[in-house]
Subunit: 517 residues, 2 copies
């Protein structure tokens, strides 16, 4: 490992490596059960303040760059991440317990995401430029109006534990915010601080190479809740991106709402991603759906926001067969290493609670473990018991799923109506299931961000038509997506220029500039 | 007045006239100082619940209508409003003290706004349809993804006191929400309940004529804060539109944020709309700017959200002359009748407070009045005093303005940076002022929703490039506008359909349907 790749334990503020002055901490290797050097240090209030002030100072010059300049910058970040080479993958493997192939794929996704936003910038229509020509003859005369979207201001991005690359320091929120011309102050997730430092330094390098103000990017390190709260409270911060627990997201929403100037929070929090086994598909393909579900459920040890934690089917022999097939397929799988001891302990607690609920039958009991290893779990209940419960719809983060035996499509619909907001819903359906699917669809549209037919919810394409979002509490703000080009809209607001002379008009708004629709 | 135009004092719930069971109240004629028959009645919790449940039940069938059907519906509302004829204008004049020409203009604006959204629906691109074709050869294969925007759900609309038509029962928020396929539960402003009832009945008639579910529109009547709070708390309500005081807007934001499922609030609250007199323009056109400003300030007795309550100029003889010209022009004007006794009393209180502040000089003292009549007021201070104060930037709703004598453009910039978010800012500038304007522009873009050159902020065009919005506290959510076609985005969220067969795909998303971009 060359010296540039040696992890220092520093935060990055205004282009400089800075050591936090507060509590130290280390990464933890969940597979080996050991701490990993070096020590990291929690930044203090004044250091957080410096990063936010630098971001504020960088905002005007950064947003004054052209689309082309910011596109080049995003691609430079991607190139710097790739230039970290295997050191990044090795460190991320150690800090997360995730396998090499998954992390290499996630790196590709992260770099691809930066490229996607670069392409979006070069194309230009993200600015939503609108022009209403003057109507001087009208009574009263209409002045010329020109609208464009501009960045909201500096964005606080909280790295997620379950995607050390694609939803962390250079993840979707960072890419979207930078594309929008918003500086980013990222908080490294304490479960993967080394990965975060490497990626953060890649961004710092790209900032310098592109001649941008150093405040365009800052990386804060730390443990405890105070740092995140200070970051969200800072007057320079104008929006927040977060992926994590419901408790964490709700806490940040409350802090943001209580500011003298409330700001938007985009928190992705909690989703059980119902899968509907419609009758004909279940009869025809139950075995293959069971295999697909088992694979989707254990992908990444069930640590995806889109994990299928709820499966609804109609009572009968096909559902019986399906249930046993799922339990059998999952029972044959080896355990997986979860991301952190805390997540592993929460999983054990969650499955134990679910097993103890009225009307819940344990079909596959996970082997208890005092390490970070987790075994899949399968539970079963009835539609009536599910409808009567206030807790069976709570997310258990990990490879656990609850199969619900419904009396009929009406009961499926009643359960759908009772569900909170979700990231996804999946319809397993064949041609004969069209009528049932049509009955469910309006309720599903109201409840979820993405509806899949004959697939599995894990696996979120980075594309222009993707919605990775959904009504509360799947996210704090169902009006947006965290994945795909539409994510740039999270960090934009419209400004109208009335009766401006060409000389004063921002370049992007002048006639003949690409991006006008 | 024909019997259909007789005002009954009823609320409208699920297509039926319903009498509230709680406190009664009457409209008040601020010009005559008398109450106006008939009595209205405050609805109770159960009635509010019925209106919200009816809206929820109507949501799926309403949003399943085609763009063309909803376009026809919006135009039918406009036709029904026009069919009310002079009875509407006469009642609105009596309830608001606003003159006939203004209200006829506002009616035209209201009907025009409905027509604008009808045109937007017929054009179709509001749905932001995105298609990513399947890539079956890719490893792993990419499924087909299709995105469209759908309505958020039932919207609560609070009528504004200062626009009994264009920002009330059938105002911008209602038009945008209905266009988006969202049912509306409107709360009539208690200052103009008769106007609200007439317009509400026009909408109810259009709902019936278009064969739509009756729950698409409800009108609640009442006084006191409990009704509005219950409406915002109701689980069926998915977004809130409000125009009014900062105190009122902040209260609704807190209620919405404290719900088990928080919802977006679009509150337009407080703005003093700074006007910058740049040196060359002030020297060349001070007299004419003073006349324009006086007209803008007293338009509608200063009761516009975009009223120019702050004017910044550089110290010197031109500013002296300008100040006296403004005071003289305003001193020559007759008083105007304010909307309500409460608003008139607040204005008197506001100008008295401003007059008593350190460093504030009264240039035109308004004649005190114990009726709803208000005289214009002009105050003057220095940039240093303004910067040192925490209260001089507070809105005084009415025809009052504060002239600020600045040392230089740096001080203008410092004041801009200290201002809270605003709906508008205006630059009075000539060719030689370009450099000063360029210095101010980045800060103005961060602070306001609409920047005008050489105009006056009152007068908000209903057009595609309009932004009537701005950072907090101008509005609760600076990411949107309440005027113009972009307002539809307030009430939309994206849904992605993955791997759907044509047969299940919503009609709008199928290949070859207009609106695909």
């Amino acid at each position: 490992m060359s010296s540039i790749l040696a992890i220092s334990g520093d935060a990055w503020i205004n282009g400089q490596a800075v050591r936090g002055t507060q509590a130290s901490f280390q990464a933890f290797d969940p597979a080996q059960g050991v701490e990993i050097a070096p020590a990291f240090y929690t930044v203090d209030s004044s250091q957080t303040d410096q990063a936010c002030r630098a971001a504020h100072a960088a905002f005007d010059p950064f947003r004054a760059t052209t689309n082309m300049q910011r596109a080049d910058f995003l691609e430079a970040i991607g190139a710097q991440i790739l230039a970290l080479g295997d050191a990044l993958i090795v460190r991320a493997m150690a800090e997360s317990g995730l396998p090499r192939a998954r992390l290499e794929g996630e790196r590709g996704r992260t770099v691809g995401q930066l490229k996607l936003f670069a392409d979006l910038l070069r194309e230009g229509t993200w600015q939503d430029i609108r022009v209403d020509k003057a109507l001087p003859e009208r009574a009263p005369p209409r002045p010329e109006l020109r609208l464009r979207m501009i960045g909201l201001g500096p964005v606080a991005v909280f790295g997620a534990s379950n995607f050390p690359l694609a939803f962390s320091v250079a993840g979707g929120d960072t890419a979207a915010a930078l594309a929008a011309g918003c500086p980013v102050v990222a908080k490294a997730h304490p479960a993967h601080p080394g990965t975060s430092e490497l990626v953060g330094r890649a961004i710092v390098q790209a900032v310098a190479d592109c001649g941008l103000p150093a405040g365009v990017f800052g990386l804060l390190t730390g443990i405890g809740n105070a740092l995140g709260a200070e970051l969200v409270r800072h007057p320079a911060i104008q929006a927040v991106g977060f992926t994590g627990s419901r408790q964490g997201g709700v806490a940040l929403m409350a802090i943001a709402a209580a500011r003298p100037q409330p700001i938007p929070v985009y928190a992705e929090m909690s989703s059980i991603n119902p899968v509907f086994l419609l009758p004909q598909a279940l009869a025809a393909r139950g075995e293959s759906i069971a295999a697909g579900l088992a694979a989707s459920l254990t992908n990444g040890v069930g640590q995806f926001c889109t994990n299928p934690g709820l499966v609804l089917g109609l009572a009968g022999s096909h559902f019986e067969h399906f249930s046993f097939s799922v339990a059998k397929a999952l029972g044959a799988l080896p355990p997986g290493v979860m991301l952190t001891p805390g997540i592993a302990a929460n999983y054990q607690r969650g499955v134990a609670q679910l097993a103890g609920q009225d009307g819940v039958q344990t079909m596959l009991e996970p082997v208890a473990s005092d390490t970070c290893k987790a075994f899949p779990a399968v539970f079963r209940t009835t539609g009536a018991a599910f409808l009567a419960s206030t807790t069976l719809a709570e997310e258990v983060f990990g490879p656990a799923t609850l199969l619900v035996e419904c009396l009929d499509v009406d009961e499926m619909l009643a359960i759908t109506e009772q569900l909170e907001g979700q990231l996804t819903a999946t319809l397993q359906m064949d041609a004969g299931d069209l009528e049932a699917a049509r009955r469910l669809l309006p309720a599903l549209e109201r409840k979820v961000g993405r509806i899949l037919a004959n697939g599995y919810p894990t696996g979120v394409e980075v594309a222009s038509a993707m919605v990775h979002g959904g009504p509360y509490p799947a996210t704090s703000d169902g009006r947006s997506t965290s994945v795909g080009t539409a994510a740039i809209q999270r960090f934009l607001r419209p400004v109208c220029y009335q009766n401006f002379d060409e000389a004063l008009l921002p370049q992007a708004l002048r006639d003949g500039v690409p991006g006008h629709s």
